[in-house]
Subunit: 230 residues, 2 copies
Amino acid sequence: MSGALKDAIRVERPAKTLRELALDKVREAIVNGYFRPGDRLVERDLCAQLGVSRTVVREVLRHLESEGLVANLPNKGPIVAQLDIDEAKQIYEIRGALEGMAARLCAERRSPEIVAALEESLAGIRNSYRDNDMAAVLTNTSSFYQTLFTMVDRNVAWGVVNLLTVRINHLRSMTIKTERRGIEGPLQMSKIVDAIRRGDGEGAYQAAMDHVAAASAIAEAVLSAKKPAD
Amino acid sequence: MSGALKDAIRVERPAKTLRELALDKVREAIVNGYFRPGDRLVERDLCAQLGVSRTVVREVLRHLESEGLVANLPNKGPIVAQLDIDEAKQIYEIRGALEGMAARLCAERRSPEIVAALEESLAGIRNSYRDNDMAAVLTNTSSFYQTLFTMVDRNVAWGVVNLLTVRINHLRSMTIKTERRGIEGPLQMSKIVDAIRRGDGEGAYQAAMDHVAAASAIAEAVLSAKKPAD
DNA sequence: CTACAGTATCTGGTACGCCATAATACGATT
DNA sequence: AATCGTATTATGGCGTACCAGATACTGTAG
């Protein structure tokens, strides 16, 4: 549309400030495990690694702190937040409640476009599983839920889910690698889509709850199994 | 026990860093309307008003930005976030889902301590309404929900609710002042407590949903009525 | 070998300066 | 006089240097 045209015309300015770039870098580094939980995040070291000043690093650390990815020990400084099993379960529970809510709303709307969009995301997930591309599985799963929320204009809830999800990201990357998850995961999600197609709000709610409940159970098993080795 | 003893012994250091103090100040200033939505938050002005350096101010602004209280216009700088009616409704909806969940869990636990704690908060709310102390109504209402969440160890969900609540705080302060809200509000909340006492999970869930739904409806009326005058 | 002092490290916090950008005011040219 | 270009101002983005206080480490003296 006119937006796309304008974008084509527009002189490509980075638009992103240095701080935002650094924020993304550090968050990514935490999320995919370059920084491990409990690692200290020494400001001046980060300055060197990122090539930015302390001002920027401090603002980034503050931001990540309010996202729950970084914890601040008094007089000790910031560390990568530890994720205990109880907190992870709580996060899954909240996701269940919100994703269930969104699924119900989708079902009640009975719109073919919603179903089509969800099917498309789901196909993407199946393909990624087939190609054994786990990173793609994660992003496609995110986009599945994103459509679930945005199709019924629930961007705030999506923001909350997104915020919580980064905190359990390394759990997610472990759960999807679990045995048979490549079959069961998409199966559970297709149940959500089916219920939405039927306009079955309660069914969609339950199916969404079941999906995260399964993920939560796997995460719990993974986390309690990993604890002794830590 | 030993924790309390240690706390009693401890030399009372502020423990709070300057940044946290400034953060609370600015958040409070936004929440109770000293800074109005849309107001620009000029860094150097805030430095002067708070008596702290720009570094601290910037970190505070970043933090509030990630809380959703402050928005950052590119090349313009931070302003107090505007709250549109749709976003407010979404926030109420999320609160409904999470508070309903917590209420259900409380009911399923069937613990007399929970009921007692909730009754106490509720009594506080009634007293505050009687004394016409609206600030106390707000804090007591918060503490009611806080017990709802913390009694079943749902501190993450409580954090989410709290985070969202500050964004609609000025709406809350208007809804509680509404005609008859001093009777109906506590009535609805006592229904939640009743259901919990009965161990009626579904009833508690519904009662909690009803309560926020009522608040949401009032907020919508207030907000749409205020819009033209803006 | 222990105790104590000194030192290095690190965060919290401050001050100051530079640059880029946006808006506005002002002045010059046509 | 209208318009265009330029200077100024306001402000955010970013960097650097510095100091204070807490902590951890280390080496030396008794």
